[in-house]
């Protein structure tokens, strides 16, 4: 196929077809109707849709659209302004990261994985490193784990700030965009101090973290913790109590807990329906059992609840960060296993063994014993998992990342059914998909 043939791609079968051309199961799924396994269909009253075929209109939103949060393409069937069916078409950011992951060593793997969910890069690196460490059966030193937790919670705050910025802008509070990114700059400046990069850090690696925290990190982190809660109260004034915001978000995009569970939605979407499922509390990993924090839960499962859950999760994260600052132990920041961790740079001049280890680790990479493992953590969007299969060589045999946004997008038809097209924008931004993770 020549290059010009490649450019003429078609997504014919992936697009939404007219009602007569779509099977019954598919009609239900696009219409957000779930045939729950226990019995009859939920909400039978909503099913009585007297729709004449040519009275409805199928419109296309995206992939280039200011409010689809990246390259998400939505095909929506409308009856006037009411949304009947929704079909998300994805794949516009497919990068072949899982295939690339099979070509890179385990040490290089974090640079690949970190670019999937690019708003929460440290979580991707963390879950990949945890999977590799489980296969290697090594124990990461406590300080490294605490550093990981600190940075992940800071990343959660910065990711939720982007949600606030984009959600506010989509609903109409354009100034929210400026405020959200202004707070984020403080956190990104701290990340730049630790790792050298504002985004896509490649800081958390198998065996620990790449470098120790910089001097004066306590002051920086506590300054962030002092500054942000005041700003969150300002967002409360700007958005939470605002009648216009209420009109646009309350009762919009409602999903019930059974529907959310059936659709594999996790994270703030599941918690906003009332189900308190948070992996940090229910299937704890790292040292979250030693920390005191609440799991924020909503009531109605609508857009406003998802906004409130994320706003308060930021407050909980600040609380966690303060506890971590007090509990941070001294010690090594990476495991002292010569077969896994590269030696410090200055030792390469002194020791032949260090030079050889450095060379082997960066060219061939360390070998991981045969096996397969699934590790999952709670990222800002839900359950982020890594399924890693190793065949005993220096490169993963299969690396699959379970991305939360990929599963969360399945709940869009259910949320948008029966609402207006103008609410579609609010609903998409409340699901907060990151297309890098969806398409990988």
């Amino acid at each position: 196929m020549s290059a010009t043939d490649r450019l003429g791609t078609s997504e014919g079968a992936q697009e939404m077809a007219s009602r007569s051309a779509t099977g019954a199961d598919e009609l239900d799924r696009e219409g957000g109707v779930l045939r729950m396994p226990e019995g009859p269909v939920l909400d039978p009253a909503d099913l009585i849709v007297e729709v004449v075929e040519d009275e409805t209109m199928i419109i296309n939103m995206g992939p280039q659209h200011p409010s689809t949060h990246g390259v998400l393409r939505l095909m929506i069937e409308l009856d006037g302004e009411t949304v009947l069916r929704t079909k998300p078409v994805i794949g516009y950011l497919h990068t072949g990261m899982e295939k690339t992951g099979e070509e890179l060593t385990y040490l290089q793997g974090c640079t690949n994985v970190t670019r999937m969910d690019y708003l929460a890069p440290l979580f991707n690196e963390c879950v990949f490193s945890m999977a590799v460490e489980q296969l290697l059966e090594i124990q990461v030193p406590p300080r490294a784990t605490w550093i990981r937790m600190l940075l992940c919670e800071l990343n959660r705050v910065s990711s939720h700030l982007v949600f606030m910025a984009t959600n506010g802008m989509d609903v109409g509070a354009v100034s929210m965009m400026i405020y959200g990114f202004r707070e984020r700059e403080m956190i990104l400046a701290f990340f730049e101090k630790c790792s050298g990069l504002r985004l896509n850090h490649d800081y958390i690696r198998p065996g620990g973290v790449a470098a120790d925290l910089p001097d004066g990190w306590r002051d920086d982190v506590l300054a962030i913790c002092d500054y942000i809660p005041g700003r969150l109260d300002q967002y409360d004034t700007l958005l939470t109590g605002q009648p216009i915001f209420h009109e646009r978000t309350q009762g919009v995009g409602v999903i019930t807990p059974e529907q959310a569970l059936a659709l594999s939605a996790t994270g703030p979407i599941l918690r906003s329906t009332g189900l308190a499922w948070d992996l940090r509390r229910d299937l704890p990993y790292q040292y979250y059992e030693q920390l005191e924090f609440d799991v924020i839960v909503g009531t109605y499962g609508d857009t406003f609840d998802r906004y409130a859950v994320r706003l308060n999760e930021m407050r909980e994260s600040i609380r966690i960060i303060r506890q971590i600052v007090d509990l941070m132990p001294p010690g090594n920041y990476r495991v002292q296993d010569k077969k896994v961790t590269p030696p410090p740079r200055r030792r390469i001049n002194e020791s032949m063994e260090a030079l050889i280890h450095h060379f082997k680790l960066f060219t061939e990479g360390f070998r991981v014993p045969e096996g397969e493992v699934y590790v999952s953590i709670e990222s800002p969007r839900g359950e982020l998992g890594c399924y890693l299969v190793s065949d005993g060589s220096a490169r993963p045999y299969r690396m699959h990342i379970r991305d939360p946004s990929f599963a969360n997008l399945q709940s869009l038809p259910t949320m948008m059914r029966g609402g207006f097209i103008a609410d579609a924008v609010a609903v998409i931004s409340s699901v907060d998909p990151v297309m890098g993770g969806v398409d990988r």
Partner: protein, 166 residues
């Protein structure tokens, strides 16, 4: 603008051309084409800390017909390539393209089946901004480079679309 370059320059047309170039470079309106991580840095450039508005560019037009500049921010997959070309074709002349980030410039770290190895295989690029992702300062530098190119008229001598890759 090939037409004006062919005229014999006298004082009046020279001043007119400078005035047109001044107007063009001081209010370049970007089209929203944020794809991946670079889009977040582009949004940060538009935010208060780095403020793209001092160059007259804070209005990111959603409609390509109203935009002058397409900042391709992020990796372009095979499925997105025709969409990119279509949006570029919908823009009105004069139009410029900044390829932001290494994934847009050359395919970046993703040398595989899924990513177009350089967006200059699809659209002609005026300025390349390297980085993964390029910080807002790099993006601003590339925008100022573009302004310089508009000012010196180098834009009128644009090369044909490369199509051969880097």
């Amino acid at each position: 603008m090939p037409g004006l370059a062919d005229l014999n320059h006298n004082f009046l047309t020279g001043t007119l051309e400078n005035a047109v170039k001044w107007a063009r470079r001081n209010s370049v309106w970007p089209a929203t084409f944020g794809l991946a991580c670079c889009a977040i840095e582009m949004m940060a450039t538009g935010a208060a800390h780095f403020d793209i508005s001092r160059f007259g560019m804070e209005v990111f037009r959603a409609s390509p017909r109203q935009a002058d500049l397409m900042i391709v921010a992020g990796r372009v997959s095979q499925k997105m390539a025709p969409v990119l070309r279509q949006v570029y074709d919908q823009m009105m002349e004069p139009k410029w393209v900044i390829s932001m980030g290494v994934c847009a410039s050359s395919g970046g770290m993703f040398n595989n089946y899924a990513i177009v190895q350089g967006v200059d295989q699809i659209v002609p690029v005026d300025v390349y901004a390297p980085g993964c992702p390029p910080g807002p300062e790099t993006l601003l530098h590339s925008i100022l480079t573009l302004h310089d190119k508009i000012r010196t008229g180098e834009i009128t001598r644009r090369k044909a679309p490369a199509g051969t890759g880097s």
